[in-house]
Every structure is written in structure tokens, then in C-alpha cells.
């Protein structure tokens, strides 16, 4: 399968004159259609810079990025970026433009000059897949944090992107809001085969990805299965991260000779596996 996103020796420095201080250095990564990937790493390790380069918000200092065979900058100039890559940021309040839920979702497609029939269709689809259909006539300010973030995702989905890039989409939400948004991402990946790449500081969310990429000082320090990553104790500690409680529990149970697989990603799945032991 051809990668849909590919970077080759991608580098970026925020200080154009001081090339030695790279925020991102020689990052070569490929992403396939349908992947669910978590990006982790300490603050300042280059995760957000990587996203901004993919979205054409920054231009590489060296190396290159290709999104669906084109440079992000060119995609952006052709006005096609949003239809390929949807972007969602940390603070939902900064991403909502309209006073009413359905109007906010319609904002993107309206700017694509689509027929009103097509706009209606896309808005309803996006609202339904994010579970916001019943809220379509609500005022956006009166939504909860989790709902607002789902609305931001709906706005991105209405442009029918093939990839969703999310920069700490759950970090400003309370535990239930976080769960609501994360489960939506898993559903979009599973049911609609949407490629999802997200930055997170919550290791339980990172553990639930199919692939984990860890950044450290602008470089890729790990790229592989989340379970393998958390088993690398020295590396995890060096990056100032810690395995999520569920993984720690699984590890301890394995130490007691229980056969628990790496696919036990939630308490439900772990309990299911424990019951299989009988």
C-alpha cells in the first residue's frame, strides 16, 4: 500500500539563522490509509511542529513532506488541504466560528462552494457520526467541553478529509469528556477507516493506538507497537513518560504468569482476557 503521508529527512528550525537549533531534525516517517497513530514525547520534542509542517502551516527548513503526493504548501494554495487533512487543536473554543451547532459544521463546506444540497448532506453526516445530531440547533457556547471538541471534529469531517490530525484533542476535557472524544476517534477509525494521527500526553490514550511514535528532541525515538514502547523502561523514563496504569497492571499480571495479550487495551478487554483463562 502506498503511504498517504511521507516525510523524508524533514527538519525545521524556528530560528532561520540558527540552523543548529532544530525543533525537528531528519524525521522520515510514512503513514498508511486507515492507521491510528499516537504521537508522544515531552514538551518541546517536536510533535506539534511535525503537524504544522504536514498541514502547510510551516515550511520545512530542510527535507520534504508529501501529503497525497503533493507538498502541503501546494495543497494549501489550491485550497485542498482541508479536504485531505482535517486539523483539530487542543482548545475547542478556538475552533468554533458560529453561534449554532449546524452552522458551525456548515462553515467549511460553504467555503468549498458546494451546492446547498451537498452542504446539507455533509452537515448531517458529520453531525450524525459525531453524535451531535440532536444538538444541531443548540447554541455552541452552551455545549460541554466534550461536545465542543466533538463539534470541532464534525467541522473537520464535513470537508471529508482522509486524515485527521489532532493536537492533544482531549487535554482540556474532564475524564468523561475525554472518554467521549477518544471513543469517537476510535469509532471513526474503525467504521469509516479514517486515518487518525493524534498527539497526546495521556498514556492510556497512546496505549490504545495501533502504532506509537515517540519524539525526543526533534527526532523519532521510537516507532512501533504501543505495548513494545512501554516495555522499553529506560527509553520511556528518559522521555519523562510513564506506562499507563492499565499497562502496568497487565505487566504485573504477566509477571505472575497470566497470559495477557498486547491487544488488551481497555479494562473491558483485560477482564475479557482474564475470564478466558478459566
Amino acid at each position: 500500500m502506498e503511504p498517504i503521508i511521507r516525510t523524508i529527512n524533514l527538519s525545521f528550525s524556528y530560528e532561520a539563522t540558527k540552523k543548529e537549533r532544530y525543533a525537528l531534525q531528519n524525521v522520515s516517517l510514512s503513514f498508511l490509509q486507515g492507521e491510528m497513530v499516537a504521537l508522544v514525547g515531552p514538551n518541546g520534542s517536536g510533535k506539534s511542529t511535525f503537524f504544522k509542517l504536514l498541514a502547510g502551516l510551516l515550511e520545512p527548513s530542510a527535507g520534504s513532506a508529501e501529503v497525497f503526493g503533493k507538498k502541503p504548501k501546494n495543497l494549501k494554495e489550491e485550497g485542498l488541504l482541508g479536504t485531505k487533512i482535517g486539523l483539530v487543536f487542543q482548545n475547542p473554543d478556538n475552533q468554533i466560528v458560529a453561534a449554532v451547532v449546524e452552522e458551525d459544521v456548515a462553515f467549511g463546506p460553504e467555503n468549498l462552494n458546494l451546492s446547498s444540497k451537498e452542504i446539507r448532506k455533509r452537515v448531517s453526516e458529520a453531525l450524525k457520526s459525531t453524535g451531535l445530531w440532536e444538538y444541531r440547533n443548540r447554541a455552541t457556547y452552551a455545549l460541554s467541553g466534550g461536545q465542543k471538541q466533538r463539534l470541532a471534529i464534525a467541522g473537520a469531517l464535513a470537508l471529508k478529509p482522509q486524515v485527521l490530525l489532532l493536537d492533544e484533542p482531549t487535554s482540556m476535557l474532564d475524564p468523561l469528556g475525554r472518554r467521549e472524544v477518544f471513543e469517537l476517534l476510535e469509532k471513526l477509525n474503525r467504521d469509516e477507516k479514517l486515518t487518525i494521527i493524534y498527539i497526546t500526553h495521556y498514556m492510556e490514550e497512546a496505549y490504545r493506538a495501533k502504532r506509537l511514535i515517540a519524539f525526543s528532541q526533534g527526532q523519532v525515538a521510537f516507532d512501533g507497537m504501543p505495548g513494545e514502547f512501554f516495555a522499553k523502561k529506560t527509553l520511556v523514563e528518559k522521555l519523562h513518560l510513564a506506562p499507563p496504569p492499565l499497562y502496568q497492571l497487565i505487566e504485573q499480571l504477566r509477571a505472575k504468569n497470566l497470559k495477557i495479550s498486547d491487544t488488551a487495551k481497555t479494562p473491558e478487554m483485560l477482564v475479557e482476557e482474564i475470564c478466558q483463562l478459566f
Binding site: 468523561l176 510513564a242 496504569p245 477482564v271 482474564i274 483463562l277
Partner: protein
Amino acid sequence: MSIILKNVSFNYNPGTALEVKALKQINLTIQEGEITGIIGPTGSGKSTLLMLLNGLLKPTSGEVLVDDLSTVHKGTLKSVRQKVQLIFQYPEYQLFAETVWEELAFGPQNFGIELTEQQAKSLLEQVGLGGQCLDSSPFELSGGEKRRLAIASVLGISPKYLVLDEPAAALDPHGKETIYNLLISLKQQGVTIIIVSHNMEEVARLCDKIVVLDSGRLITYGDKNTFFTELLQKNVPGLALPVYTEVIKLLKERGFKVSPKFSLEETVAEIMKVVPKC
């Protein structure tokens, strides 16, 4: 002698169209020498409650007593504030002095306490910062170090009560751990601690007593063990179970005879009791 809230209500913008009833008839006695955790969904009144504890907000009705001193009377307010130190969310944003030394000396000065260099060094050691950074700028410290400096800067006043809003939020796992250890050691020195947190693992690990707020009402106050045991039976809006408790709950639903545990080791032991030896 402790902090007592008697029938406390608090309204923002009372008597206007924008009136919001943030707290409704709260009765609560904070136990000395313990860590009390205040939890509840976003908008439930947690931060408002914190600000009432040192008189930053005055109750609309009812009263708050700190060691029998009212937070309403001007004459006692200064002693109240010396006893109850409030640390906001992201306190590192409040650092302002040119050196760590000046930062540490400022708070105590306001209460007429002249900090000696020796005392300043021991405060830094207490929060795990080491005395040699006295002359450096607070802004040269890392995020987690700044947070610890902000906490050290109120410890010079020797507060009897320490109130913290999300003390570990947005820190990486390593940074969180240092804050937890600091709070536990302060408790051992006899400081009464009150925290607001969204992180149930954190609450389960640190707190002795739990206060649950929902829409401005106090819906639960009690011992941690009792609270989490009850949480297995009923859902409290906006609250997610800690992962270990969730696993136990699911096992229980499958008919296993297990009781809730809060630490990793205890949970492993509990599971091993019911799992057949493989």
C-alpha cells in the same frame, strides 16, 4: 479547630440577570492532618469552593470558619490567609521575581517574616530543587521545577492548610510523581491539604477523604475506601473510575468475589486470589 463550612452558598453576580448559583448550602468540616480531594464535573463549583476557603470569595450566605476565625471579618482575614495558602492551577504562571531567592522571600515578607538564606535553601530542598539555584531566574527552570518553586514560595509562610487546584495538571508523568511525593511529605509534617483534581488515579492514591460536588451541591463526603466501594455500585455524573477500580468492578460483574483496591500491588494480589494457577 479546622476549616468548617456552615450552610455556605455562593452566587456569582448576585441580583443581576447573570446570576449563577455556583454553590448551594454546603456543610463540610475539613479534617486536620488529612488530604481531602474535591472532585466533580467541570462547572460543579470546585474552584469556587477553594476560593472560599481563604476568604478570596465571601459566601453569599452561610459562613466559613478557619480555626474559628471568620473569613468575612477584615480583622481576622490576614490570619486566615496566613493559615490557608491557596495555590491556583498552573501556579508557575504567577512567578514574577528576578531570582528564585526573591520569589521565595516575597510571600513571607507580606506577613512580616524575613526569610533567611538557610530557610530558603531548606524550602528548596523540601520541594526537591536543591539550594544552588537561589540566584538563578525562576524562568530558567523546567515546567515541573517552576511548579515546585511556586509551591515552595508559599511554604515559607508555614501554612497550616495548603489548598491546591489541580496540582499535577499538564505535568509529564515524572513531574507528577515529584508533586505527589511532595504532598505526601507535607502531610507527614502535619500540613492539612485540600486538592481539586480531575484525575481519579491521583485522588485514589493521595486522598484520605473525598468530597464530590455536582451542580454546586455537595453530594458525597467521606472516606476514600467507602467512596470508591460505593462508586462500584452507582454512577456519579462526570466521574470516571480509576483504572484499577474499573477492572475490579468488571470482574465483580462477571461474578468474581473481589473487593476494590486502589494501588497497583493490591489490585494484582486481588486478581491473583481469584484466578486459577496456570
